[in-house]
């Protein structure tokens, strides 16, 4: 077997005191070979990013490797001085990050940021650097590279920014590219393009790529080999096919089992039920900026959207960022005023209620939000968070707290949670609190806006199970807004695909996934990572 380009031997990285465990990375052994893509998979906090940062010598100040070696070119990177590491960074080892929005300096032109790589290593003249920048941008497939070179990051889309990051990383033809969740923040169609780009460039240049991800779909698309990490340790390594098709370790099996499957089964036969929510011709236009002398910027976020939701039914609204799906949700719960259209909830038009009557009606339509960290008041105890709504609607304090206790049990939390603060809970537990809070007002309809998107896959599976269970038991009508088609496939009865403010296709989930009629729907579905692999296995 050939020599690895880089090998990590017994790497151990200590966390500062008071962390939830002693070691972020605990005795990790890994080898990275030229011309391969090694995926490190794990949930948040598994130590995968720490290991990558250690390779670059970019660990946070309080975190230090305490044992092990990172051998590159026969020397231990951990022994290198900062100056020696600086020489390697960008030239031999390059890195791209998760958030293309924040990974570029907002005040510098793209070409200057690329040219800096050459400048850092005192290569090329300033003029040739600029020319090289355009060549690199061409290579990563940015439309109109000359113009993009002169642009500032905010003028580019998320996918384009990630391409710039890749161009920058490739500038000095490094031997190793470390990609830390590079597609996680991107829309599914953009993700598919970036994955392909990385794969193509890696083949063309024979680079070794260490690709860090939490998403097994992405693994299926891109990995040659896989290492699964849990709590700082590597629990399983192997070729991508071996790990995906025949996982050995219990944790790997759990992770893979938690991935929502695409709708392959038959659509469930449904009894006809009366619609509880009827939306007709809903429109919302945003006007931003504009003053005494300037024209406002107008964005038609929601254009003529109509939908019906029956009792006990789950409607998925899927779409990419900026498609207007969250705006629909916000209009429905009247967190936002729709410009036009009617929202009839159990026969009453919500869209035009005002004041006290709107307040009274709000109880029957509730929302679960995306970010379990930001959506709970950090200064309020869980009991108050849940009981506040019913109390505002006139329920006696004692009764409201009793109801809160019952709801906590219902969502699978201990009743003692009532006296604790949100920060004492994990993301998944907080999302359960968010669900309990939404249920507290005994709503007819619940709108879940990306309610599981911020959660790790195993937690996500638990919360999805909970929602499905509650829906069954309480006969809830649910609108499930998500960018993740896999999640939609798992939980939704019907799906509406949203694109540029409009519903381009609506139908039973099974039909949408198996017989999409609209071209955009097809693009979306084809872009789902790991889909081909899954289809091949299902047969």
């Amino acid at each position: 077997m050939t020599e690895p380009v880089l090998s990590i031997e017994n790497l151990t990285i200590a966390l500062p005191e008071g962390a939830d465990r002693a070691f972020a990375v605990d005795g990790v052994n890994l080898q990275l070979f030229a011309g391969e893509i090694l995926c490190i998979v794990g949930e948040s906090g598994s130590g995968k990013s720490m290991a990558a940062n250690a390779m670059m010598g970019l660990l946070p100040d309080l975190v230090r490797p305490v044992d092990g070696r990172i051998v590159y070119g026969k020397v231990d990177l951990l022994d290198k001085t900062e100056a020696e590491l600086m020489d390697l960074r960008g030239r031999k080892l390059a890195m791209i990050f998760q958030e293309p929005m924040s990974a570029l300096n907002p005040l510098m032109r793209v070409e200057d940021q690329i040219a800096e790589v050459y400048e850092a290593h005192r290569l090329l003249s300033p003029k040739t650097r600029a020319a090289r920048a355009v060549e690199l941008l061409t290579e990563v497939g940015i439309p109109d590279p000359a113009k993009a070179a002169k642009a500032y990051p905010f003028q580019l889309s998320g996918g384009q920014r990630q391409r710039v990051m890749i161009a920058m990383a490739l500038a000095l033809e490094p031997e190793i590219l470390i990609a830390d969740e590079p597609t996680t923040a991107l829309d599914v169609t953009t993700q598919a393009q970036i994955l392909k780009l990385i794969r193509d460039l890696q083949r063309k240049r024979g680079m070794a790529v260490m690709f860090i991800t939490h998403d097994f779909g992405v693994v299926a698309e891109i990995a040659d080999r896989v290492a699964v990490m849990q709590l700082g340790k590597i629990v399983e390594t192997g070729t991508a096919d071996a790990v995906l098709d025949n996982p050995q370790h219990a944790y790997t099996r759990k992770l893979i089992a938690a991935i929502p499957r695409l709708a392959a089964g038959q659509a469930p036969v449904r009894k006809e039920k009366t619609p509880v929510l009827e939306v007709e011709s809903l429109s919302k236009t945003y006007r931003t900026g504009g003053g005494l002398f300037s024209k406002p910027r107008v964005v038609e976020a929601v254009k003529d959207v109509s939908l019906q939701l029956a009792e006990g039914e789950t409607l998925g609204i899927v779409g990419e960022s900026g498609s207007g799906k969250s705006s629909v949700g916000r209009c429905l719960v009247r967190l936002m005023e729709p410009d036009q259209g009617t929202v009839r909830l159990a026969g009453r038009d919500m869209a035009h209620l005002k004041g006290e009557r709107l307040r009274a009606a709000r109880g029957s339509i509730q929302m679960i939000f995306q970010d379990p960290y930001a959506s709970l008041n950090p200064r309020a105890k869980i009991g108050r968070i849940i009981a506040e709504g019913p109390m505002a609607h006139g329920v006696a304090r004692r009764e409201a707290y009793e109801r809160a206790a019952r709801l906590l049990e219902l969502v699978g939390l201990d009743v003692s949670a009532i006296d604790r603060y949100p920060h004492e809970f994990s993301g998944g537990q907080r999302q359960r609190v968010g669900i309990a809070r939404a249920l507290a007002l005994e709503p007819r309809v619940i709108i879940a806006d990306e309610a599981v998107s911020a959660l790790d896959v195993s937690i996500q599976a638990q919360v999805l199970d909970l929602l499905a269970d509650l829906k069954e038991r309480l006969d809830l009508a649910l609108i499930f807004i998500t960018h993740d088609l896999r999640v939609a496939a798992q939980i939704c009865d019907r799906i509406a695909v949203m694109h540029r403010g409009e519903f381009v296709e609506t139908g039973p989930a099974h039909d949408i996934f198996n017989r999409p009629r609209n071209a955009y729907t097809r693009t979306l579905i084809e872009a789902i990572p790991g889909r081909e692999k899954e289809l091949a296995t299902v047969g």
Binding site: M56, L58, M86, D87, L88, R89, G90, R91, A94, M95, F97, E99, S102, A103, L104, N105, P106, L107, M108, R109, E116, V117, E119, A120, H121, Y152, F154, Q155, M165, M168, A169, G289, L292, F293, S294
Partner: protein, 323 residues
């Protein structure tokens, strides 16, 4: 850009007229009659004399008419006449304005330059003893009452050490000219400008330090490190430029108050500036002079806001290109 500036100037003019109108009514709503004060000081407070004064100064006309006359004058750059000082308001203000601007601008530059430098230094040595020393000193100057620092400065550097003059704008009776005079004024400037500057320096120092630390945690700084850039370049090019954005905002807000913001310092150092003029005008119900000073200070605020916004467009491409 030119169009932007033009639009802003038109807006500024509208705002200025609104401010003037508001000030006009506020001043007239305050108790006290300038004619009565004048008559009282002349020693003849009988009703007929007061009535005469009123008529002479146009104070007997309806308020709206008075406002109209005043605004009409302002549009022709005539700020009216100070009956108390028997001089045109504009002359009074422009006689005092240079001294105030000299003092406040110098203090402003001292505060901005020293504060930013100290902030950058402190952020680069965060947690070390030099950071503690800088932060504590800055806090000390900010927390100590300005007039006390000023008095102590006079006591130490003027009375005890006799290094610098302790009061006034220039040496009275020396009649210096040219370079000699400039040097004389500069010597007189050092104590008041430094005292005032040290006070504001603390704000810039803390803002810069916090902002630098915040920006240094951002992703693009990690990108810069991953390129292999040297820490110095990262500090200057990536962290400092981004960290300056809030500092520019703060400086713009503060620069607008340069005209009226130095009353205390001017009083302690007997600096013949606008702050003291304003204080006297207030005590004497000198309506026109007060309005005139308000007008000039409002115009200054608007001007510096405009400069801040232009500066912001220069440093931040997101604002420049988006509009």
């Amino acid at each position: 850009m030119l169009r932007f500036i033009l639009m802003r100037l038109v807006k500024a003019a509208i705002i200025l007229i609104a401010i003037l109108t508001l000030n006009f009514f506020l001043i007239h709503a305050a108790p006290g009659d300038p004619a009565a004060v004048l008559a009282g000081e002349a020693g003849a407070a009988d009703a007929q004399f007061i009535e005469q004064l009123r008529e002479r100064f146009g104070l007997d006309k309806p308020l709206l008419t008075q406002l109209g006359i005043y605004l009409g004058g302002v549009l022709q750059l005539d700020l009216g006449y100070s009956y108390r000082q028997q001089m045109p308001v504009a002359d009074l203000i422009f006689a005092r304005l240079p001294a105030t601007l000299l003092l406040t601008l110098t203090a402003f530059v001292i505060a901005l330059v020293l504060g930013t430098l100290a902030g950058v230094l402190a952020s680069a040595r965060v947690g070390k003893w030099s950071d503690t020393v800088i932060s504590t000193l800055a806090l000390l100057f900010y927390a100590t009452p300005l007039f006390w620092v000023a008095l102590m400065a006079v006591l130490v550097f003027s009375v005890f050490l006799n290094w610098l003059p302790g009061f006034g704008y220039e040496t009275v009776g020396a009649n210096y000219t040219g370079f000699r005079r400039a040097l004389d004024i500069a010597q007189h400037l050092i104590l008041p400008a430094t005292t005032l500057g040290l006070f504001f320096m603390a704000v810039y120092m803390r803002m810069t330090r916090a902002s630098m630390l915040e920006v240094s945690q951002l992703d693009f700084v990690k990108t810069a490190r991953a390129k292999g850039l040297k820490p110095g370049i990262i500090q200057r090019r990536h962290i400092f430029r981004n960290a300056m954005l809030p500092v520019v905002t703060l400086a713009g807000l503060q620069a607008g108050q340069l005209v009226g913001g130095a009353v205390l310092t001017e009083t302690v150092f007997a600096w013949p500036g606008i702050g003291r003029l304003m204080f006297e005008a207030l005590a004497q119900r000198d309506y026109n002079l007060l309005l005139g000073i308000f007008f000039v200070s409002a115009a200054m605020v608007l001007l510096f806001n405009l400069i801040t916004d232009i500066l912001y467009r220069v440093v931040d491409p997101r604002i420049r290109v988006a509009s």
